[in-house]
């Protein structure tokens, strides 16, 4: 290492570090998600929802404690576990105590482990992990820890709700399960097999397969198999380009039944499906967008659209993250010591802006909430996605889904 470059390094580092001189009366939440690269669309949209929620729900209401304001600090993790850990370190160094992340369960499990280790090794500056989207069940089961809170319904809970609906539909006799070849895809597949076996043993699973994630150029061969198997319904956990590719391909090649999905909305997907998806696409998710649950939700969504006309509220749970965190901080009376905040969060009940109640289950830090089955449609959607005229509308609701489901979580509490 030459001296000249060392000097350059010195200059560059001091520059960045000094650029983040923290101001005293803000409570910072680090938003660590992809802001560049292929998943940046989702990440940026999530960031906007966070910024909007912090502004509307906390700062405009006078903040927390003695008027402390929330501030969302964005970190680009490029959806890489390694980058996430670097950014986590940067965030911790800036004195940030709350880490929000959601895209990719792989990143989430890297983060939750790193945070667990960090909190064990550095008891003076512990942090909390607010997971708003990573749904791998392991995070609140085998991999759970005291510092991790999940605000989305996990893959098992969603599948529980989804199979309730499928079980109630007698016209479905044959189901085809297809997913991406990685932990989440496998989790969806095994949950589907398990729940269908319990609830409707008569349903035949005519296909259960995994395809390489992000590598399939053309889904036609898969569609052929699905059509050939005469499936009445498809269940898939696919997201992003894989969701779009699969969905368009099966519909194009003659499939006419419902496609039950986790992530077939917003971020360009709703627009790209458009008319084709009408009548087929079903989506399992929390958060009722259409019809609006109440005037407050409608006003909130309108205000969001006014600020971000190209944005979507595709992760309604983000309002719960912000509101519940604010409530917990107020209850704990401190924002710097995260242990009482975590205790306040655990077991907290909360009125969901999007309708119904939610409850942070103490045993595994999994939020229990209403889970809806939405339909992709262009008819009577108050708030469309991607400004496409199409959106998702609640068809069926499972109240407080899986509230008493089992968990293998055994967490050490400080």
């Amino acid at each position: 290492m030459r001296t000249s470059t060392t000097l350059g390094l010195a200059a560059a580092l001091t520059l960045t570090v000094s650029a983040f001189a923290a101001s005293a009366d803000t409570i910072k939440i680090a938003f660590i998600d992809p802001l560049s690269g292929p998943f940046a669309g989702t990440g940026v949209n999530g960031l906007h929802q966070y910024e909007f929620a912090a502004e509307e729900l906390v700062n405009k209401q006078g903040g927390v404690l003695d008027g402390d304001m929330f501030e969302i600090v964005a970190f680009d993790n490029k959806i890489s576990p390694k980058e996430s850990l670097i950014q986590l370190q940067v965030a911790i160094d800036q004195g940030i105590r709350y880490i929000a992340q959601g895209n990719s369960s792989g990143v989430a499990s890297a983060l939750t482990e790193a945070i667990e280790k960090h909190n064990r090794r550095n008891p003076d500056d512990r942090v909390l992990f607010l997971n708003y989207s990573a749904v791998d069940p392991a995070l609140t089961n085998d991999k759970c820890n005291f510092w991790h809170f999940r605000f989305d319904a996990n893959a098992d809970i969603k599948m529980d709700a989804l199979t309730d609906v499928i079980a109630g539909d007698d016209s479905i006799q044959k189901v085809y399960i297809i997913g991406q070849d990685y932990s989440f895809g496998k989790a969806v597949s095994s949950a589907a097999v398990r729940f269908l076996g319990e609830k409707r043993p008569d349903i035949e699973i005519v296909g259960n397969e995994l395809h390489p994630i992000g590598k399939v150029k053309d889904f036609t061969p898969y569609s052929r198999k699905i059509v050939a198997a005469e499936a009445d319904a498809i269940i898939t956990g696919n997201w992003g380009a894989d969701m779009l590719g699969l969905g368009k391909s099966v519909l194009e090649n003659g499939y006419e039944g419902p496609i039950f999905t986790y992530y077939a909305a917003a971020d360009g997907i709703t627009a790209a499906f458009g008319e084709t998806g009408e009548g087929s696409l079903r989506l399992v998710a929390e958060g009722q967008i259409n019809p609006p649950a109440n005037d407050r939700a409608a006003a909130y969504y309108e205000a969001f659209k006014a600020k971000y006309p190209d944005g979507n509220i595709s992760q309604a749970r983000i309002t719960n993250v912000i509101e519940m965190l604010a409530k917990a901080i107020n209850e704990a009376g401190t924002a710097t010591d995260v242990v009482p905040v975590a205790y306040a969060l655990a077991g907290m009940e909360h009125e969901n802006m999007w309708g119904g109640k939610v409850m942070m289950r103490e045993i595994d830090h999994q939020l229990i909430q209403d889970v809806h089955i939405h339909a992709h449609t262009g008819n009577d959607v108050t708030f469309d996605y991607d400004n496409s005229g199409f959106g998702i509308k609640v068809e069926e609701t499972v109240t407080m889904a899986a509230a008493d489901s089992a968990t293998t979580c055994e967490m050490d509490r400080p």
Binding site: T5, V90, A110, P212
Partner: protein, 432 residues
């Protein structure tokens, strides 16, 4: 160049000195001291994390340059050797019962051995030919192993990867590696060891012959060396050091995932090495430092970091194929003549102008990006510590003017700089 010729070659003693490759100690001492004191300058953990990342990238890039720069082999899948070394180490860390007595600081040796093992297997068929065949096999093997990482879950842990706890073993002389700073010194020590070893390797008969085979494989064959085996040994050696980098990654991040193996990672290391300069030993070091700073620090400042990086990279390939190191080494003749100072003022004028122009252009790009992609009503943007309204004309005029003026200065003073450059180097020809 000049003073090399002016050494009187008729005196054997002097010849011996000029020809011998005695390790020039000074730069290494400076590097060692710098590594020692850096954490005292940058005390916060994130700076240390970034420096750790830098050091790991340096080792990896140096290992890669053993292939590209010294052996002339272009690999599109080198990440797998680092990755597999790292994965193997993670398994060792997790197999606490079995390896409980293995001190953590020795772990990189095992990473190196695993990287080397894989390189031996792959190299046995991929190094038979150089050039495109080697490049394509490396790409194919890289893709295969990366794809395996999600299929063979038992070893690679699927897309979540595998993680562990580096504090598994007994404390090593009282150090438990709980803190980043302890890990930093461990990595720094391995950086010094690996860099010295790789430098020394380039001075051995094998290292020399790697250069020979790169330049002219056919001629090398008629010197008694099998080009294939020379390539093979270079490849294996490179795999070893890549494995060390992977092991250090495992220690530092305590997690390994598919991204340690995939072609993106392989592409990045190619980019890093080329940016730094493949022609000089220290080239990859500069490349790794600059790249890590761009990736971790610039990406905090702008979403468009990858765009800028792509431009820098393409510009480097087009205008300075020697990379940053080549650029620095261009100044050695002038420096030897003691005329480097003469270049300072012309440089300041031209490059300063160019820099201002580039910053202005960057400002314009950022403003266009903000205008297109920011939310409606969000007219405020902050650039270079100034907050302004991107929807008014004034900032555009300023940025545009800065760009034009910057490039105009650059253009106007360029002939003077070329002249100064020629003059600073021309004198050397007079003395020869």
């Amino acid at each position: 160049m000049s003073d090399q010729i002016t050494t009187d070659p008729t005196k054997p003693a002097q010849r011996m000195r000029a020809g011998s490759m005695v390790l020039p100690l000074t730069p290494w001492l400076i590097a060692a001291v710098a590594l020692l004191i850096l954490p005292f300058i940058f005390t916060n953990n994130s700076a240390i994390t970034i420096m750790n990342q830098m050091a790991i990238t340096i080792i990896f890039a140096l290992a890669y340059n053993m292939l590209l720069g010294q052996g002339g082999m272009l690999s599109f899948g080198h990440a797998v050797y680092a990755g597999v070394g790292g994965f193997a180490c993670m398994h060792i860390i997790n197999a606490t019962d079995f390896f409980a007595n293995l001190p953590l600081p020795l772990l990189p040796i095992f990473g190196g051995l695993f990287g080397m093992g894989l390189a031996t297997i792959v190299g046995s068929f991929s190094t038979r030919k150089a050039g495109t065949v080697f490049a394509m096999i490396s790409l194919g093997v890289g893709e295969l192993i990366a794809a395996c990482s999600v299929i063979i879950v038992a070893f690679f842990g699927g897309e979540e990867g595998i993680s562990g706890d580096r504090t598994y073993g007994l404390p090593f002389f009282g150090v438990e590696f709980l803190q980043q700073i302890e890990v930093y010194y461990l990595i720094a020590a391995w950086l010094m060891i690996s860099a010295v070893l790789m430098y020394l390797y380039s001075r051995t008969p094998m290292g020399r012959m790697a250069n020979a085979v790169r330049d002219n494989p056919e001629r090398a064959e008629f010197l008694g060396y099998s080009a294939r085996w020379v390539r093979f040994y270079s490849f294996v050696a490179s795999g070893f050091f890549a494995g060390i980098a992977g092991a250090l990654f495992a220690i530092n991040y305590e997690i390994l995932t598919e991204e340690n193996l995939n072609t993106t990672q392989s592409g990045i290391i190619l980019l890093v090495t080329f940016l730094g300069g493949v022609g000089f030993f220290f080239g990859p070091i500069i490349g790794a430092i600059v790249f890590t700073l761009v990736q971790t620090v610039l990406s905090l400042q702008t979403e468009l970091w990858a765009f800028y990086l792509g431009m820098i990279f393409v510009a480097t390939v087009m205008f300075f194929p020697g990379g940053l190191a080549g650029l620095i080494m261009m100044h050695v003749p002038a420096w030897r003549l003691g005329k480097l100072g003469h270049l300072a003022w012309p440089y300041l004028k031209t490059l300063g102008g160019g820099l201002i122009g580039c910053l202005g252009a960057a400002a314009l790009i950022e403003m266009i990006f903000h205008l297109r992609h920011a939310s409606i009503g969000d007219h405020e943007m902050t650039l270079f510590w100034t907050t302004f309204d991107s929807h008014t004309v004034l900032p555009w005029i300023i940025a545009g003017a800065v760009t034009v003026i910057g490039f105009a200065i650059c253009r106007a003073t360029a002939p003077a700089m070329v002249e100064a450059w020629n003059e600073a180097n021309a004198a050397s020809k007079v003395t020869t």
